[in-house]
Symmetry: C2
Subunit: 372 residues, 2 copies
């Protein structure tokens, strides 16, 4: 390929990437990164080389925060932090920062990711499971309309999209609570419009809808910052991170730079509202095809279905494996389901264009009729 | 600039970057990243988009580990981990993992970075300062030849290079101890040959000598892994990270990719031995010029002088500021000393070519004679 070639031009065979994350980036974002790689904003340096204490880098962080605030309608009552360690470190950081003397919080259990979050909270206090999809094999988000807060609970925790189980808590299904709601939004942030004022804290790893692995967004209501304990490691202290504008140590500059570009791309495409329209169209197209097929089956409760991760099965595990293998031969990559649940998973985040969904449906049709 | 232009070709005016980190990357590393950005190893995907569970990414991590082991001569008695959160998170992770029931360790205090490390250890146990440069204003590494281990100490901690103070514990000045030695090698890893077998654990953020911010290398002697407590957050549990081959969660793939390229560059340039030869030449050139100058002064004990971060002063703080400002106008960037100590700091890591040091000396000469 040539250095300035686009994705289309550069490949003999077009490849589609259905990975659950790291995932597809918008083509024009990659193009801009490529163009700027030796000289970021006339500094004569790569963005990978600039000092985080210099004004160019500080401006990058400020602009990125402003973009995120605008796209998600985040008011000044909230702080935006850029952290490291992924959602997985937040599973621990949330209880370490938000537990008060009670060391107790309510958790809505919807799959693998909440399981890990619950385990981290249980290490230092008590995670009370107030609703669980476990009896439904996590194929349905439990009814959240009548939740009651446990006595002395410090917050209510949930995951808005479950990448492994292929379910989501849609904006209209969000619970109402007297407790601050903490949400792991790693896999559907910027995909639909949630009302930020409903939340006490939102966190999300960037590598699905916002860029590359290495930076985690934390949006936290300012009054909750006071709960942070000085006894915790500095790097997971929200209050300290906020007071240092996310530059307590050398931040992951390049990951923030990619985030900045992706946010600009989302804005250009019409913002989160337009993303949601397109995501619903893309997901409907695929779910409709599956529901009308004799070979493929999705067992998720219709109202709980994820717009981001569409999971489905063929009649047997062997056939699932065969399907994923043949798909890969045809340039449809990373369709194998998560090892915990098997089956097939097509992740179709914001950056996956409609033609990527269409390409999958075409392949599924051909596969079903034996003509692939 | 053109997308495939090199640094030289792309700029009207050549810029030199003396930042303490993030810092200069080898030109050919940036070139390769640019060329491969749309298609990593014929996957038809960017390295920023590939799944960390796929064989291409696993091969990247395996190769990177093998390269690091070869360059640093790391035996199979040690594990190599790729973590997040920078050295700063390791300041907490080290005591959280290596403290035994005693919760006590010896610390050699040589400046700002050890101060922060000591503070983290003191949150959960006791850091005993067994040697300190504080009375010498950290301009000299204390004598480490007669250290005695404290009773019940779990390890001996030190920092091999102090970026802010411009000092280093050279390989020949390393202490001998009955305790496992833990070293923060963030700012001089791969710059000189240390005997790995002397250490129990080495950690280093990548953004100085190894690539970009976002990945932290941990090299840990296998017997120490057993000390990791399950009560700690999963993301800072060395034993768990080791058992998951650093892929407990989505790792910072792009940062590891850049690390891989930098390690290959070091290998091609003759390995750490050759880096050390060049680093000594570069640093000598600059220290010799300073020592023979009437305007510039370096107050660091000669045997403690860093090869990576050369700090110096003009007669007054005002003149320091003026010098840094004029240097910047002439394309010599980020020479301002750390805000804690002021003065001027020239960071000349592995990737800074000798001509970068020469360019600084030339400017210093012209500045001194008023002809800049």
């Amino acid at each position: 390929m040539v250095a300035d070639g686009s994705r289309q031009l550069s490949m003999q065979k077009k490849t589609y990437n259905y990975s659950a994350g790291p995932a597809v980036l918008p083509e024009e974002v990659l193009k801009e990164i490529q163009t700027e790689i030796f000289d970021y904003q006339n500094t004569g340096m790569s963005v990978m080389e600039i000092s985080h204490r210099g004004k160019v880098c500080i401006a990058l962080f400020d602009e990125t925060e402003a973009l995120l605030r605008k796209l998600m309608d985040v008011s000044e009552h909230y702080s935006v932090l850029f952290m490291q360690g992924g959602a997985r470190l937040q599973f621990a950081a949330v209880p370490l920062n938000l537990f008060t003397k009670n060391k107790k919080a309510d958790y809505i259990h919807t799959g693998s990711w909440t399981k890990y979050a619950i385990a981290e909270a249980d290490k230092i206090g008590e995670a009370v499971v107030v609703a669980s999809g476990e009896n439904d094999h996590f194929r349905k988000i439990p009814d959240l309309s009548k939740l009651k807060a446990s006595a002395d609970a410090d917050y209510l925790y949930l995951c808005t999209n479950n990448t492994i189980e292929g379910t989501t808590i849609r904006p209209e299904a969000m619970p109402v609570s007297v407790l601050p709601i903490v949400a792991d939004m790693s896999s559907n942030i910027l995909s639909e419009e949630y009302d930020i004022e409903q939340f006490g804290l939102i966190f999300a790893g960037a590598q699905k809808n916002m860029g590359i692995a290495g930076v985690t967004i934390v949006i936290v209501r300012n009054d909750l910052l006071e709960r942070s304990s000085k006894n915790n490691a500095d790097m997971i202290n929200y209050q300290l991170m906020q007071s240092k504008q996310s530059m307590l140590n050398t931040p992951p500059v390049f990951a923030v730079y990619v985030l900045n570009k992706v946010l600009k791309w989302v804005e250009k495409k019409g913002g989160v509202r337009q993303m949601a329209v397109q995501n619903k169209e893309k997901a409907s197209m695929l779910y409709d095809f599956i529901d009308n097929s004799n070979l493929y089956k999705n067992s998720i409760d219709v109202d709980s279905r994820s717009l981001m991760n569409v999971i489905f099965n063929l009649p047997t595990a062997e056939e699932d494996a065969q399907f994923a293998k043949e798909a890969e031969k045809n340039g449809l990559m990373f369709l194998k389901g998560h090892r915990d649940v098997g089956g097939i998973r097509a992740s179709i985040y914001n950056a996956a264009p409609p033609e990527q969904v269409q390409a999958l449906i075409e392949f599924m049709k051909k596969y079903e009729t034996g003509r692939y």
